[in-house]
Subunit: 238 residues, 2 copies
């Protein structure tokens, strides 16, 4: 509960009636899901959106021949699955990357919410829309940056988003992704990710150890990424 309410209150200054509506939205108890489980399958009909209380999610799509692209990483505080409002069938799958605590928001309750507390509905939609900024950055990454640049960019983006939410601090950030999953974010092979990480490690720029990312030389990583962080933060991150 608090996660979503806190975000919305920062933007809106809610009335009592509105907080009531909001509380009714997450009548359901938080659901704990273990790592690497699929919450919503491609083409399935979703019944709930989720507020992520803890843990990481990935939105991804798999082609018929097995190639997979991760479209977006969702961190604690994000609202995932709002697309269920606008599409009958999920165009992409949503899976846990770590164990997650998810607070379900029943999608059918949204319609009532739009009627009875439109400011909240609008705020959630606009918040979701803000999040989509990340997708465009990923498009640039996939389309117009070379693989090492893409990797550096992904690492910087995650570090910034983690910092912004107070989930970690320089130089050490949580990093639950496997190299295979990183490969699926970047559109490259896992072998290539391994080679690129070795190069970053040997150059003393950054390393992944255990489930942590250690950024040893942030300037170098920023340069390697051509990172322009405008799209993270109040104005960009969701």
């Amino acid at each position: 509960m608090s996660a979503l309410r806190a975000t919305l209150e920062a933007a809106l200054d809610l009335s009592d009636g509105e907080t009531d509506h909001l509380d009714r939205l997450h009548a359901h108890a938080a659901r704990t899901v273990s790592a690497r489980r699929t919450i919503v399958s491609q083409n399935a009909r979703a019944n709930d959106a989720f507020v992520i209380a803890s843990g990481w999610l990935a939105e991804h799509r798999t082609l018929k021949d097995g190639r997979r692209q991760i479209l977006n990483i969702r961190l604690p505080g994000d609202v995932a699955g709002v697309d269920g409002l606008t599409h009958c069938k999920a165009l992409f799958a949503t899976s846990t990357l770590t164990e997650c605590e998810l607070i379900p928001l029943p999608l059918d309750a949204f319609h009532g919410l739009m009627r009875d507390a439109p400011r909240i509905g609008t705020a959630i939609l606009m918040r979701t829309l803000r999040t989509e900024a990340l997708l465009r950055e990923w498009e640039v990454n996939l389309g117009r940056r070379g693989a090492p640049e893409r990797l550096a960019h992904l690492l910087m983006e995650l570090a910034r988003r983690i910092e912004f939410r107070g989930l970690g601090e320089a130089p050490r950030y949580p990093m639950p992704l496997t190299q295979g999953e990183i490969a699926d974010c970047l559109g490259v092979t896992p072998e290539h990710v391994s080679r690129m990480l070795r190069s970053l490690r040997e150059d003393g720029v950054a390393r992944i150890e255990g489930k942590a990312l250690i950024v040893q030389d942030e300037d170098a990583l920023t340069r390697a990424a051509g990172f322009e962080p405008r799209y993270i933060g109040q104005d960009g991150d969701g």
Copy 2:
């Protein structure tokens, strides 16, 4: 006016008060913009969203060294620039690909709209959110498909969207993009686009002639694209 109102009426069944609000939104006259002009620059503050009455727009982002990625193509009937509501500065540029007639929707009027006619505001936001489905498909395209597959996929997507809006019919569709622009959609070089188009032409699959795309063998093109059209249409296109 009619473009947006027609779309919304299909979904909503508007009251008189609501159509009034909608009409007030486009108090301003349609603006004609010639081809290859930038409507909104990267990092600029936008004052209006736009309903595209006619013409094609591209959303794109340019890196410091000049590499450019087209993020999305917008066709007549689309609403562009709603992201101005959620971001102070534009994270990407918006430019005309052809001469366009654009109906400005002042962004500051949106806030009143959300208060006074929330159903309309919500409908516009949800419509925008639906459009974002295309971005995810582009991510898959850029990340996990080879260049010829990507090209075929782009052509199929455009053909379907054009058909869906009644702007063209098989086997001949409007195609105002230059090969350089296609390259910027696909994340490849213009030379490579030229080569791939030659190959499609020589195989009798599809050709671009003048400013038209002629799909000679739709099955072959669909196969070449690995095209899965679920994301176009009522449930996906915006």
